[in-house]
Structure formats: C-alpha cells, structure tokens
Symmetry: C2
C-alpha cells in the first residue's frame, strides 16, 4: 500500500505556466456512489483506462486495464453527471518542489486546485506555501475529485 503525503490549496493567483507540463485528464464513474463496486473511466492525454474498485471496508481490490479510445468513448456517455474534467499542469516551485495544478473544466470550472507532495509528515506541517497559493483545503473532503464528480464545486 502506498500513502501519499500531500497538501492541497486553492489558487489565489495563477502563475506563469509556460514552463509546466500540461496533461488533459478526464475521469467519470459508471457506477453510483452507493453501488457495491466502483468503475471509473479515465483519460490522460491519449491514454485511456478502466479501473474497478471492489467493495469491502478494510481491503478494496483495485484492478485496472488500459483501454482503447474507442472502448472509452463507447462507455463515456454513461458517466454523465459523474465527471471530473481538468487540465493538469505539473511544474516546479522556486524551492525545487513539484506542484500539480488542476484547472477544472466543464461543470467544475473555474475551480483551480494545487497540490504539493512531501516525503514526511513533518515536512508537510512546516511547509510555507508560495504567495500564489490560496486557502489550504487539505482536510476538506468536499474538494476530493470523487466527491466533486457528484456534488460539484463546494459552495
């Protein structure tokens, strides 16, 4: 099992992104939140994936297969109302850390979120974000992608 130590922020001032790498990401759920199984379609640039997460409180099985664009498009319409579409910019902060900035599209526009990953919890706690970062929403579950797919942008 892998644990990610991250902090997540709103964006106060979008920085110059000309040096960042851009990816187009869209993901949507074929199943509803109360269903016994979760099936997610995901596109990242020109690659497509189908991921199943099994039920089970303690251990959730995860199975993923790369699929074709055509297979993706066959099922994508059924994710209507349960989607997250975004442009993800990956770049470097002046302190050398990597940021991942999500600029949401579609129903979630114009939301922007930026994440920074840390090696240890101690590092994460003492971190001073750059000026262009906004409010810290790390602990706010309403900003999870899966939650926003159903509920939209927190108000």
């Amino acid at each position: 099992m892998s644990m990610e130590i991250e902090r997540k922020f709103l964006v106060a001032d979008l920085p110059d992104l000309s040096g960042a790498e851009k990816a187009v990401v869209r993901q949507g759920y074929l199943t509803a939140p109360d269903d016994s199984t979760e099936l997610r379609l995901r596109q990242k640039n020109d690659r497509f994936f189908l991921t199943l997460k099994g039920g089970g409180a303690m251990v959730r099985v995860e199975r993923e297969a790369e699929i074709t664009a055509e297979q993706f498009e066959t099922f994508w319409p059924e994710t209507d109302g349960r989607r997250v579409e975004k442009e993800r910019f990956t770049g470097q902060l002046s302190d050398g850390r990597t940021f991942e900035l999500d600029v949401f599209q579609g129903d979630l526009a114009p939301l922007q979120l930026v994440e920074v990953e840390f090696e240890t919890e101690a590092e994460a706690m003492v971190y001073t974000p750059p000026d262009w970062f906004g409010e810290d929403v790390t602990a706010d579950k309403r900003y999870k992608n899966k939650t926003m797919a159903i509920n939209g942008v927190p108000t």
Copy 2:
C-alpha cells in the same frame, strides 16, 4: 427494439450432438443486482465483450464494446459468485428448426436447457417439442441466466 419469441425446456435425453456447432460461453457480472448499472463480461469462444446496461425502468440503455482477452482476464475475477459458464450447441431439429442447447458448467452443472425460436407467437403455442426435450420452463424466471448467476440452479 428486438423481441425474441422462444420456448425453453429442460433436457430429458441428450441427443447426438456430433452435427451441432459448439461454442464456449462464459459471462459474469461486475455489479450486484441492486446496483444502479449492470456491467457484464462475456466470452464467446475467442471473442470477449463488456456490456453496460443502464438503470431506468422504461428504457435501459445498452452499450457494448469488444475487449481483448487480457482486458477480460483483468476484471473476470471480480465476477466471482455471479457467473454463468456453459457450452452452447447450436443444431437442427428434424423439423428444420434451430435449437440452442446450453450445457452448464461450474456451479450450474449439470443443468441443461434447450431453446427454440419462433417467428410468431402462434407458432410457439402450437409447437410440439421432440422427445428428447423435457419440462417446459419458458415461463419460469428462475431459469433466466442472470437469475441463476446469483441464485444457482432452481431446486
């Protein structure tokens, strides 16, 4: 929309199947019966399919994509407990009609069911089955493949 007019029977005496065409069929459900969406994996000989049936009482959307053996095998384990595996023999009766005989494998063995299709309801009603057919179970919903995938062979 296509309607099939069929009658379904148990098998009293398995006939000589040397002239029949045999296919290996297995199908399993990734979703549970109460989920909002139905996702079914299906193999017929060396071809593989993923089929989604949407919720909705009046109109159920159906979307199907052919998938690879590898994609099939990635998700197949998650259909455990919700499977139908059978050999399907397609052959001709002495009256010229086509029969489809399912010889179930796995948990549903040794069940055998045979179906005959008709052009009209009138034809179906007056039909006299051959001697090797057993009890007529056309109206018995317990013999639907989807029901047996969950509940097993009717007792």
